[in-house]
Symmetry: C2
Subunit: 194 residues, 2 copies
């Protein structure tokens, strides 16, 4: 498995739709369908992004996710850390202390400070993290924006508006106080109330 997993790829592509949706919340199901990925995957990723302060969630039929801050303030490093958690590039086992000549007690000179091998790996990890920190969600959204024709964004807006309307309609039908659910209707029928 690669160090930066497919969850990050899914997460970033979904976040890019939120850059375009502005203050219109998208549910994890909307995002999954729009991006063509598994809803259960998105439902696992977004609570992590919310916990990291990258997205904000609202409840209810018109609820869903919006970005919690400007996309210029969300770096790729923020997203990778939120989704992957604390995952070092190299997990030092302090093999340096196991030299047979040390016996049971490694000398102080051998255990002092960070192992020189580990130090090289930490520098490589820092270089990788710095490169991820340099790129914001806004940078990449702009690159996608430049590639897509203007009409495409209109299509996306229409799709989002339709989804939100559809969700609201379904909610009014099922949650309205005067409209019993199919289950309630079947129960009433059995009890001879119709």
């Amino acid at each position: 498995m690669a160090h930066v997993t497919v969850s990050v790829e899914y997460g970033i592509h979904c976040l890019l739709w939120l850059v375009g949706s502005g203050d219109k919340p998208l549910s994890s199901r909307d995002l999954a369908e729009l991006q063509g990925i598994s809803p259960s995957f998105v439902a696992k990723i977004f609570p992590k992004l919310e916990k990291a302060g990258i997205v904000q969630a609202s409840e209810g039929a018109r609820g869903g996710y919006v970005l919690a801050k400007a996309p210029e303030q969300i770096s790729f490093l923020d997203i990778v850390d939120a989704i992957e958690g604390d995952k070092p590039l190299f997990d030092c086992q302090d093999v340096r202390l196991r030299c047979q000549l040390f016996g049971a007690r490694p000398p102080t000179w051998a255990s002092k400070g960070t192992c020189a091998v580990h130090a090289v790996m930490l520098r490589a990890e820092k270089a990788m993290r710095d490169a991820l920190a340099e790129q914001s969600l806004a940078d990449v959204a702009q690159r996608f924006g430049r590639a897509a024709p203007a009409a495409f964004f209109g299509e996306v807006q229409d799709w989002v508006s339709d989804r939100v309307k559809d969700r609201s309609r379904r909610s009014d039908r099922t949650d309205g106080p005067d409209k019993p659910s199919p289950r309630q209707r079947r129960k009433s029928k059995r009890e001879g109330r119709t």
Copy 2:
């Protein structure tokens, strides 16, 4: 599991002993015992380092591994690539093409060139690889060398010389043309030749 695994840590610490052993070959068992790690692990790692031209193997009782080139010419990147193989930091699934609005056929503008998300990950990977390429086995051996007292290197040389002598003695006892092995002696006894 970390991206750079414990096999790399084991491999590098064993290679550091070869920097010190000069042209005296060390077997994978010598290296495992000196470093206090599993011989079967070392026996899996060193053929990979040999294939990558980092170490050279010689056979026989006095055989073993030596560095195939100067430690200044062996970078950490060479070692990581030799042991880990082709292992990308991020394995792009081209999720960008799965947008529901594209239908079965993603438009050319969406599939052209490298995905902008993948491009960020490739830059981060390059930064990490550049940092690993900058460090040589000689650099790190020098850092270990500065930390250890001079007497320690004498102890290591003695340990290595004892091991090589011991291996040669055992080999002379068992492989000498005039000295039958215990198994041959038992067979001869059964056949009444003694």
